[in-house]
Amino acid sequence: MAEGENEVRWDGLCSRDSATRETALENIRQTILRKTEYLRSVKETPHRPSDGLSNTESSDGLNKLLAHLLMLSKRCPFKDVREKSEFILKSIQELGIRIPRPLGQGPSRFIPEKEILQVGSEDAQMHALFADSFAALGRLDNITLVMVFHPQYLESFLKTQHYLLQMDGPLPLHYRHYIGIMAAARHQCSYLVNLHVNDFLHVGGDPKWLNGLENAPQKLQNLGELNKVLAHRPWLITKEHIEGLLKAEEHSWSLAELVHAVVLLTHYHSLASFTFGCGISPEIHCDGGHTFRPPSVSNYCICDITNGNHSVDEMPVNSAENVSVSDSFFEVEALMEKMRQLQECRDEEEASQEEMASRFEIEKRESMFVFSSDDEEVTPARAVSRHFEDTSYGYKDFSRHGMHVPTFRVQDYCWEDHGYSLVNRLYPDVGQLIDEKFHIAYNLTYNTMAMHKDVDTSMLRRAIWNYIHCMFGIRYDDYDYGEINQLLDRSFKVYIKTIVCTPEKVTKRMYDSFWRQFKHSEKVHVNLLLIEARMQAELLYALRAITRYMT
C-alpha cells in the first residue's frame, strides 16, 4: 500500500463550497474504507509475523482518522459535513470496527454543556465566525465555543490570532507554533500544547524539536529565558534580557521578530489562563478528548484528576449552591449597593495622598496572600513538561521575597501611547489588532449584572482590570485602590489571582464559589477581562524593556 494513498487530506473540508466538501468527504470515506479492509485482511491472516508492527501502526493511524471524523461530526460548522462524518462512522461501526466516542461534557468542564451554544444552532453572525475559524484552522476549538458567549470579542480575537499565526509576519510559521507551545507549556496547559503540536507538525515543523527545548535551534532556546520571566515575573524583565536576544551573533533575533515572539508569548500565556479559567476540555480529536472504550468505565478525563476535581463533584457543589441561594442573592445586591455608594460619595470623603498611595501598597501586598492553601504543590509530571528547563521557576510575589521592584506607572508608559506605537512600528497592523482587542474587552458590557438590567458596570470592570495590573505592580495614579477592596470579595480575588498567576491550579470549586448568582456568560466575560489585562501587563513590561534597549 503506497503511503500517498493513505494520506487523508482534510483541507478540502474547510472550503465554503459544498461541492468541494462533498468530494473531500468522499475521498476520506474511501481512504478509511480501504484502511479498514486492509486491517481486516491482516487480521484474517495472522500468520504473517513481519506485519505485526505495521499492523498496530496502521490501526493507530485509523484510530486517529476516526477521532478526527468524530470531531467533525460534532464540531464542524457545516451541517453536511457533520452528517456525512457521522454516517461514515456508523458505517465503519457496522463493519465491526470500534469507533470512538467523545469524553467529558462539552467544551468546558466548568460550564454545563447545555449552557453552551450547540454547533448548528448558532445565528448567522456566529455561523460566519465559526466558518471563518474553521476555514482558517480546520477545526472549531473549544475555546471558540466558549468565547462565543461574546461574539463581538470573539471576532476580534480570532482575527488577531489568525494574523499572528498565519498571515505575513517576521517569523516562519513553524516558529510561531513552537513559540505557542513554549508559552503554553509554561503553564502546563496540555490543551494548547496538543493543539499546537498538531499545527506545528502540519506546517512542516521538525518533530525532533518537540522532544524538548534543547532540541530546538539555539535561537529559540535563547527565547526560553524571556518566556519564563514573562510568564511568571514580568516585572523583572530588563533591557539586558532584550540585548541578550538581539545580540547573539548568528542566533540573534531581529527587533521585528522579537516583537512578534513577545506578542505570541503573551497571547499564549493569557490564553492558557483562559483555558484553565474556563475549564476548557481537551479537543475531541486530541488525546483525552475521546475514548474507544465503551461508556461504562470511568467517566472523567486526566485533567480532572490532576486538578483534583472529578465530574462526580458536580452534585455536592450544586447542592451547596442551592443551600446558599438566598445568601448569594444578597451577594449581588450588596455588590450593587457598594457600587452605588462609591459612585455617590466619591467626592465627599477625599482620601489624602498618603492614604491613596498606601492603599495601592496594601492591595498589592494583600494580593500576595489571597492564595488558596496549596502553594507549594508539586507539579505533575506530564508529557508537556519536557519543554521546561526549570519547573521550579514560578510566580513569586515581588515584595514577599525582599526584592524591591519600583512600581510601574501607567502614566509614564501606557499601551495607548507607547506600546501601540512600538508594536505597530516593528510588526505593522498587529498593534492595531491588539489595540482593538483590548478596547473591546475593556469596554464590553451588556449593562446587566446577574438578574439586574441597566447597570453601569464600568466601575466593576475597571476594578477587575486594575486589580490584575496591581498584581503585576502596575499602578494607575488616578485610581483609588480602596475601590477594589469594596467591590471584589475574597473568593473572587482568589480566583483572579489563581488564574492570572498560576492558572494550572484553578479548580471547579474556585470557579463555582465566586459570584454564585452570576451567569456563566458573565464569568466568561470576567475571564476575558482577566486574560486581556494580563496580556497587556506582560506586553507593557516587555515593550518597556525593548524601548529602553532602543534608547
Partner: protein, 920 residues
Amino acid sequence: MGKTRTTSAEGRERQRLPARRFRTTSPAALRADSVDGGSLLAPLLGLTDRAFSDCPDLADGAMEKMSRVTTALGGSVLTGRTMHCHLDAPANAISVCRDAAQVVVAGRSIFKIYAIEEEQFVEKLNLRVGRKPSLNLSCADVVWHQMDENLLATAATNGVVVTWNLGRPSRNKQDQLFTEHKRTVNKVCFHPTEAHVLLSGSQDGFMKCFDLRRKDSVSTFSGEATEAGPWEWAMAGWVPVLPVLSCHILRLHHSFAHGPTQDAESTANGSRESWGCPLYPLGLCSGPQAGQSESVRDVQFSIRDYFTFASTFENGNVQLWDIRRPDRCERMFTAHNGPVFCCDWHPEDRGWLATGGRDKMVKVWDVTTHRAKEMHCVQTIASVARVKWRPECRHHLATCSMMVDHNIYVWDVRRPFVPAAMFEEHRDVTTGIAWRHPHDPSFLLSGSKDSSLCQHLFRDASQPVERANPEGLCYGLFGDLAFAAKESLVAAESGRKPYAGDRRHPIFFKRKLDPAEPFAGLASSALSVFETEPGGGGMRWFVDTAERYALAGRPLAELCDHNAKVARELGRNQVAQTWTMLRIIYCSPGLVPTANLNHSVGKGGSCGLPLMNSFNLKDMAPGLGSETRLDRSKGDARSDTVLLDSSATLITNEDNEETEGSDVPADYLLGDVEGEEDELYLLDPEHAHPEDPECVLPQEAFPLRHEIVDTPPGPEHLQDKADSPHVSGSEADVASLAPVDSSFSLLSVSHALYDSRLPPDFFGVLVRDMLHFYAEQGDVQMAVSVLIVLGERVRKDIDEQTQEHWYTSYIDLLQRFRLWNVSNEVVKLSTSRAVSCLNQASTTLHVNCSHCKRPMSSRGWVCDRCHRCASMCAVCHHVVKGLFVWCQGCSHGGHLQHIMKWLEGSSHCPAGCGHLCEYS
C-alpha cells in the same frame, strides 16, 4: 542674531513693541495691567466688556509690558545660544513665561522654574516643596499664563488640577486645587486673554472650565456630547434655550455664565448675539454621569476667536466648542486614525488648526469653512506628541514624537516630505516643546525624558534638506526617462552643451514658485522628461519575448530552438545565437543542423552592425554621431576596450585555427577591434553614467531590422550592411548572427568544436559568465530564462543570492508590464525558496459584490448585504468561479465556455434581455 525687524505694515502689526513702547498712559494698557495684577476690580470690569473689539488693545497692553521686560533684558532682541542643562528627573512638559526669560519644567518628580540666561539655564525656583511626595505634584502638563507671569497651572496624573501663584510670599506657591476629574488630566490651558479662565481635559472624557476666582468648575464639557448645528454661534443671534431658568441664574454673578452684556452688541464680527442669558444653569451642566466618553488628549483655546476652543480625543475626533455652550460641541470631525495627541491654533491665520496623532501624521485644518478642510498633511516617522506653530513663519510648525524618535522637527507644511530643520540634541523622547517668545522664530525650548532642558537656536539646526540628494532619476516603463535636478544645475548644464540637432525631446515642467517661499532656492527643481522615439519599439521586445519564450515542458533542445527562433524573429540576433549555442553545448553536438551554421560563414564582418543602431546615430549627421560616441567612449570604456582588445585578438586566433582544423565552420569571425569598441560604448554608458543627460537616451541594442537599412552607416560597415538583407531574404531566419560580444561564449563554442565529447559541465563557468554578462547588461530576462531552461545544469555554478536577485528583478519587471501570468510562471519555475514562496504569501483575494460594490467579506459567493450571488452565469445560472465573460453591451455574462457555446447557436443574450451580443 536677532532677526532684523521688518518695517512693513504687516510686520508692525505683529510686532508693536518698539512702536508703542512709551505709550504707558494708554487706558487700555492700564486696564490690562490691572487685570494682570489679579486686581479684584476685574470682575467689576467684567471680563466680558472687552470682547473681540477690545482684544487688540488688550494684547497691546500685554505687549507693552512685555516690551518693558525685554528692554530690561537688554533691548528687545533675545539673545542666547544653543545650550542645555541637566534636570534631576524626566520632564513631561514645559511652558515659557511671557517675558521669554523663564521656563517652567514639570514632570513626575520635578517642578522647577529656570531662568534663561545668555549662556546657561539657572534654576530659579523649585515648586516641589514639602517632604512627602504627593501625586498632586506628579505633573502631566504645565502651562504658564500668557497674561500674568505669576500664574501657573499644572495637570496631575491623579486627576487634580493645581494652580500656582508665584506672588505668594510663602515657600509653598500652591494656590488652588481642583479635584473634579476622576482620571488623569492630560492637558491644561489658560485662556489667551482672560486672566481667570482655565480649561482642562482629562482621561475621563470631560473637559472642565474653571474660573480661578471660584472654588469649582464653571462648566463641564463631555466628549460624547452630540454636535450642534453647523457653526451656529457664528451666525446672528440665537435664542436662549432656557429662558425660565435664566432669570433666576442671573443673580449668580458669574462672569462667564453671563457673558458680555451691552458691549457685546457691537462685537468685532458684527453679529448681534445677545449674551444676557446663560445657556445652562450652573450645576445642571455637569455632563452625563457615566457612559463611554472618549479620553480627551488636548484642549486649546483659539487665539483669535474669543469663545472657541478645540479638543482632541483618543478615538481620532476633534471637537470645536463654544465656551458658553457646554451642552454640545459646535462641530466635530474625525482628524486621525487613532488618538489625536495634540493640537495647536495658528497664531495668525484664524481658523487654522494643526493636529498630530498616533497615526504619525500632522494635519492642518481650516475650520472656518462649513466643513473642516484638510489643508496640509505632513507624514512623520513616529507618533506625534506635540505640535507648535513657529512664530512669524506662517507655514512652519515644530513637532516631537512620543516614541522611538528623539528629534524635534520643524516642518514647512507645504513641503511635507523633508523637515525644514531638525534638532538632534536629545537622547530620549522629547516630551515638551515651546517657542521661547511668541514673536521670535529662532528660539525653541524643549524638555525631554532624558532629564534635560534644551534651548535650540534655529541657526544651529541641522537641515536634512542639505543632506538630501536633490537629483532624481527614474526610468519609465517604456524606456522614458525623467530627471529632476536643481534648476540652477540644469540651467548651467544646458548652457554648456546646447545640442540642437539632438533627438531627445525633453519636456520641462517647472514649478510655479511662490516668492514668499523660504526655500525658493532649494525647493525648486526642474523636471525633464526624455521620451523614447515613438517608432523605436520601446520595450515591445521585452513583452514579446516574455510572452513567447518557452521555459519548461519540453526537451531542452526544443526549448532552446524555440527561444532562439523567438529571439530571431524579434531581431535579437545575439540572443538567438546564445540560445543556439546553449543548445550545442548541452545537447549532443551531432544534432546541430549544420546548415544553420553554414549560413553564418563569412558574415563575421557584419557582427557589430545591429548594435550600431542607436537613436543618436540615426538622424544625426554621421560625423557628429561618431564624434559624440567617441567622446564618450574615451572616458568610459577605455580600460574595458583595452582589455577586450587583447582577449578578442586571442579569440580570433583561436577561431582561425579552428576554422582550419575543423570542417564545421566557425560561424563568427570576430569583427575588427573597432566593431567591438563600438558596441562597447553604445552599451556601457547606460550603466556607467546614468546621470549624464546625453548618455541616458534609451538605447536599445536590438533595433528592428528594417531600420538598419535606412541608417546611413559608418563607411566601413556600409558594405556589410548591404549584404545582410540579402542573406536574410534568401535564408529564413538566420539572417546575420549577432556578434558574440562576450569572449566566453565564443570560447565555449570553440571548445565544443574541439572535442564534442567534453561534458557539458566543462562549460559551466563559461555559461555562468555569460549569464552574468547578460544580467549586467540589463537583460535580466535572458539570464533568468536561461537559468530556468537549463535548470540543474547551471544552477550550482551561480550563487543563491545572485539567482534570487535576478529572479526578483525579472519578476518585478514582468509585473510592471502587467505580465502577471508570465511572472507567476517564473515564480513557479524558480527553485530559489525565497522566490517560490512569493506566490504563497499574501495572496488574499478580495471580492466585491457586483451589485452593491461592497466587499464580500469572505462569506462565500453570496453578498450579505444585497443577498444575491456574486456573478451568475446567464446560461447555467450557477455562480461563476473561474473566468467570467460578459457582454459590454448588456452586461450579462457567464462561464466562458457556456457563453461561447450559446452564442454559436443564438445571437441574443442568454439572459433574455433582448440584446444582440457579440462574441469576438
